[in-house]
């Protein structure tokens, strides 16, 4: 194991870090699922307001998605830009 250079070690650790960073996707997944479930229940209760409910749900989901996207951005930066090289 003597022939691993520092750059290779950093690259390998960047890949692991990128994998850890996208774990942030769990939170938005749960949140969006809850939002979609409640929206489905709301449509079941009041089918007339379907378009309003859908647009509200999509807006809320897009805002909730932001934290997951931050994790994704960190992963993309680690993999493609490699700031630690």
């Amino acid at each position: 194991m003597d022939n691993i250079t520092g750059a290779e070690l950093i690259r390998a650790c960047s890949a692991i870090g990128a994998g850890l960073a996208v774990i942030a996707g769990i939170g938005p997944g749960i949140g969006q699922g809850i939002a979609a479930g409640h929206a489905a229940a709301a449509v079941g209760r009041n089918p007339g307001a379907k378009s309003d409910i859908t647009s509200t749900m999509l807006l809320g989901q897009a805002v909730a998605e932001t934290t997951g996207l931050y994790g994704l951005l960190v992963a993309i930066l680690l993999l493609f830009v490699q700031p630690l090289k």
Binding site: A15, S55, L58, L59, A62, T66, L72, L73, I76, L79
Partner: protein, 244 residues
Amino acid sequence: MQDAILLSSGPDIDIMVKGLFSYELFGQTFWITTTHVCLLIVMLVLTVFSIAANRAMKHASEVPGGFQNVVELIVEMLDKMVHGVMGKSGDKFVNYIGTIFIFILISNISGLFGLRPPTADYGVTFPLALLSFILIHFNQFKYQKPKEIWVDMCSPLPPWLPIWFPINVISELAVPVSLSLRLFANILSGTIIMALIYALLSKIAYFWPGALHAYFDIFSGCIQTYVFCMLTMTYISNAIGEEE
């Protein structure tokens, strides 16, 4: 080989913004990139469409038909969207919101026509969010008294105890960052996934990536356009405050 494992510089993976040619200005090197070219193409398409729409509306007939119908449909849809959120004050903002809506929509969908979407570059989305940010605060100072803004900025605590003021300032400054990063990261992730699929599965990626294009380019692009405009409108109507 190690680079190809990390997918950072594989030969056929095409996700980065590429510089086409550079020039020197004030001792700095500037690059004309693929983003500029794609933006120019999008602008050209929009300009041609606008001129054609103007022509069609100049001799508009009582009973709309053909192209005039399409133009009226677009304008009515944008009007309805803006007025639905902002109420009466929507009249002043329907031009701005409509412009950024059409621009972002065409930019997002341009991935479908083989361009690299211009909105997958942070240099495009951040100025858009900055424009919205300036508009929000311009309207806040126009429609609210300085005392109201101060009370608002110290909001959970009474206005003579401005402990929360720095935190509220940070949350205000986070608005353009989160607006632009949301659009950027969504479109960029779609671009990356499509590039990976075409590069890694080149032999078997023949017809079925069309379904993924429908999701990543059309669905995601439309949703993000809608969300960007919706959030801008919500922030602006918050800044305007109560209708007098």
